[in-house]
């Protein structure tokens, strides 16, 4: 279900790093040897033996990250991102695998479109890519896609992301029918009649600025509905990019009641609030919008305690001219692949809101579990999917430093702590800095 560029695997030795794998319970300074892309040995003072040596002293070696929510804009908007540029950006951000959303042009709603993407991934993808297919044809919310055939072709799961599944009956049928594919359904929760005309979170800031408000209940009533449907059908469900305290409360109640729901949250919703919109910078305009500070705090707490299992960037590239407009005219979405770890290390780990171990788990094993993928791990015999992190480094985010074709980052000019020094994805060294 994951596809990556074909090519020779690397022989590497990472020396002297603090090896930290929360899943395996490993936290020790040790060398790691990789033979032909597979972890072959963990031990002290391992000989190099002609392998490429990476100096890990003072660095943390962890399982590489998995991003469950990326917009690769291909097919249709290759000026904004391609499989090649998006996976290079992912490599630079420490990711070994990413999941691409189907809201492209054309929509990924047929085996033919999906097959063409898989073929491109085989020739272009620096890190492994999985593709989600649409729930409804054309994402129009009327007819189900041919989920059986799409799953056989290699779809990781199904979503109409970018749009909600508006009709309850269609969502109900999707939950029923997707069970034959054994692939998860992921939902973008938004009631469009409540969010209509909204460009930012409804609250004190929108009241003052006069920008159309988007109430948090536009998300949470849909979360409640979809959880009720999932409970009725006894099916699992993945909730995408949660942003509201009310949604977190609903998810927590549902999980306590035994409903199999997972969820993801973005770095920007964990770090920023609607106060950021006072800048009127279109790079803080996203869907769902940035919430109030009690929303942000609820999301951080849910990520910490595991109610929300995954960090997702919702990397959404946009062309410069589309974002260089007044706030209300700008499209929703920001990039995130290349800054996610540093942003969360700076704003969550350094202030001790969550531990480094928890962050690493939520960026790797958590999202893998949500989609039934094998989690990256540091163990002999496992494929090498590793990230080498410098937690001491300080750097300034600059527009010209991005591998992504788009520069619509909310972090341009920001000073961050923690930097990805190297990424090994599917046994290949795909990034060094």
């Amino acid at each position: 279900m994951l596809f990556v560029k074909n090519g020779p695997k690397d022989n590497l030795v990472v020396r002297g790093a603090r090896v930290l794998d929360p899943l395996e319970g490993v936290d020790v300074q040790i060398d790691v040897r990789i033979d032909q892309g597979v972890i072959a040995e963990l031990g002290s003072s391992l000989p190099v033996n002609g392998h490429r040596a990476l100096d890990g002293s003072g660095l943390v070696l962890a399982p590489a990250f998995v991003d469950p929510h990326v917009h690769l804009r291909t097919p249709g908007r290759e000026d904004e991102e391609t499989i090649a540029s998006g996976t290079q950006a992912a490599a630079a951000g420490g990711y070994c695998a990413i999941l691409a959303m189907p809201n492209t042009d054309p929509v990924v709603d047929s085996a033919a479109v999906l097959g063409a993407l898989i073929e491109q991934a085989h020739s272009q993808a620096e890190v492994a890519v999985g593709f989600l297919a649409a729930i409804s044809k054309g994402q129009h919310g009327a007819e189900l896609t041919e989920m059986g055939e799409l799953a056989e072709e290699g779809a990781v799961g199904f979503t109409d992301d970018g749009r909600p599944v508006v009709a309850p009956a269609l969502m109900w049928r999707a939950l029923q029918y997707a069970s034959v594919t054994d692939r998860p359904l992921a939902v973008h929760c938004e009631d469009p009649t409540l969010s209509r005309g909204g460009h930012m979170h409804e609250g004190q800031v929108s009241a003052e600025l006069g920008i159309g408000g988007w109430p948090s209940i536009a998300e949470s009533v849909m979360v409640e509905r979809d959880l009720a449907l999932a409970e009725y059908e006894n099916r699992s469900l993945h909730l995408m990019h949660l942003s509201a305290r009310e949604s977190v409360d609903a998810l927590r109640r549902a999980q306590a009641a035994g409903i199999r729901a997972t969820a993801e949250v973005t770095p920007h919703h964990l770090v920023l609030t609607d106060e950021a919109v006072r800048s009127l910078d279109p790079n803080v305009k996203m869907n769902p919008p940035l919430g109030a500070d009690d929303d942000r705090k609820a999301l951080v707490e849910a990520l910490r305690d595991g109610t929300i299992s995954s960090v997702a960037t919702d990397h959404a590239p946009h062309a410069r001219h589309e974002k260089e407009v007044p706030f209300e005219a700008a499209p929703f979405g920001v990039t995130g692949l290349e800054t996610a770890f540093s942003a969360l290390y700076t704003h969550l780990v350094e202030p001790a809101l969550i531990s480094l171990e928890t962050l690493l788990e939520r960026m790797s094993a958590g999202p893998s579990r949500a989609y039934g993928l094998e989690a990256p791990r540091i163990a002999v015999g496992a494929p090498a999917n590793l990230v080498l992190l410098d937690t001491q480094a300080s750097w300034q985010v600059a527009e010209d430093g991005f591998r992504s074709r788009s520069k619509n980052s909310w972090l341009i000019g920001e000073k961050l702590r923690g930097r990805v020094r190297a990424t090994v994805a599917a046994g290949r060294l795909v990034h060094e800095s």
Partner: protein, 331 residues
């Protein structure tokens, strides 16, 4: 070329003061507001002379760019610039180009090529003035950006109240109607509270934005509350908000019955203001609009001198940044 050009620190001209704009009342201090109102008063006296033109801004260029329709704001800015002897140009964007952000940037760059001293901008979206400020060297006066701000309207309203009552501090102003969609209301809440007035917003619940109390005002849905105010400020009930399915109010008829400002709901002598254009018989009873206690025409007169004061203040108190610096050549 190839010579090394450096400048000795002691020869470097002092850093130019930051270029000033008038985008939001939030950018102003109480001192700024009082200075502007004082300047407007001076201009008002000069307008009483037979020869009304002042040479103050001769050789300056003021461009009015209006992406939305306007009568009083555009005409009063144009006349204000002319009374100060500035050259003026007025650009009206066609309705179809309004939502194309690209065209705003490109229009701004094009107009910027004429080196205007001031661009007066009205645009249906918040952030448009900042975007124009980024791509031109002109000072920007916001003549209305979406539902966000209309600072010169608030300044002329303060001027009108000040002239009427001799003060603003301690007065109670009730703002009635569609606050949600009103840039006039937002600028006035900030301006009135900045000068120490008490502000109460009155209207139907869907038109009172959630959280607006954080701006330092009170809210109520009870029209009876206007009787306690010194000034009743009536907002336009915008017909375009009455689209089917919007459901801000069930009907204009019901709005008028519950929130229309009528003589019966006012105390004798209560002053009434309206930013215009009025919908007589909807938000304001014609008898109220035409009564001696209505300050509506006074507001329009105040608009001219206040806008003269704004142009004068931006162009004389804050000099344009010096860009031509002659470097010293070192062998």
């Amino acid at each position: 070329m190839g010579d090394l050009h450096v400048m000795r620190d002691d020869l470097r001209p002092p850093a130019p003061p930051p270029k000033r704009h008038l985008i939001s009342i939030a950018d102003l201090s109480r001192d700024d507001v009082e200075r502007l109102l004082g300047t407007a008063r001076t201009f008002e006296r000069s307008m009483e002379r037979e020869m009304k033109k002042l040479p103050t801004l001769r050789g300056r260029l003021v461009i009015n760019v209006f992406y939305e329709s306007s009568t009083r704001t555009s005409s009063s800015f144009e006349l204000a610039a002319k009374r100060l002897s500035a050259d003026t140009m007025s650009i009206k964007a066609s309705g179809s180009a309004v939502d194309k952000g690209e065209s705003l940037k490109d229009t701004a760059i094009t107009l910027g090529a004429y080196d205007p001293d001031v661009i007066v901008l009205r645009h249906p979206q918040i952030g448009a003035p900042q975007l124009v400020a980024r791509v031109t060297d002109a000072r920007i006066v916001n003549a209305g950006d979406g539902k966000h701000q209309h600072p010169t309207q608030a300044l002329l309203d303060l001027y009108t109240i000040q002239e009427q009552f001799g003060r603003i501090e301690g007065l109670h102003v009730a703002i009635v109607g569609d606050v949600l969609h009103s840039r006039v209301a937002r600028s006035n809440i900030q301006a009135l509270t900045l000068l120490g007035a008490r502000v109460t917003l009155v209207g139907p619940p869907p038109l009172l934005p959630r959280g607006i109390e954080a701006m330092g005002c009170e809210t109520t849905t009870d029209i009876g509350a206007i009787a306690a105010a010194d000034v009743v400020y009536v907002l336009r009930m915008q017909q375009e908000r009455m689209q089917e399915g919007a459901n801000y109010v069930p009907s204009l008829r019901e709005y008028t019955a519950r929130w229309g400002v009528t003589p019966e709901r006012l105390r004798p002598g209560q002053k009434v203001m309206h930013p215009g254009p009025m919908n007589r018989g909807v938000e304001i009873d014609p008898r109220v609009a035409d009564a001696a206690d209505a300050l509506i025409e006074t507001q329009v007169r105040a608009g001219l001198v206040v806008r003269m004061a704004v142009l004068y203040d931006l162009l004389t108190t804050g000099p344009k940044p010096v860009v031509a610096q002659v470097p010293m050549e070192v062998a």
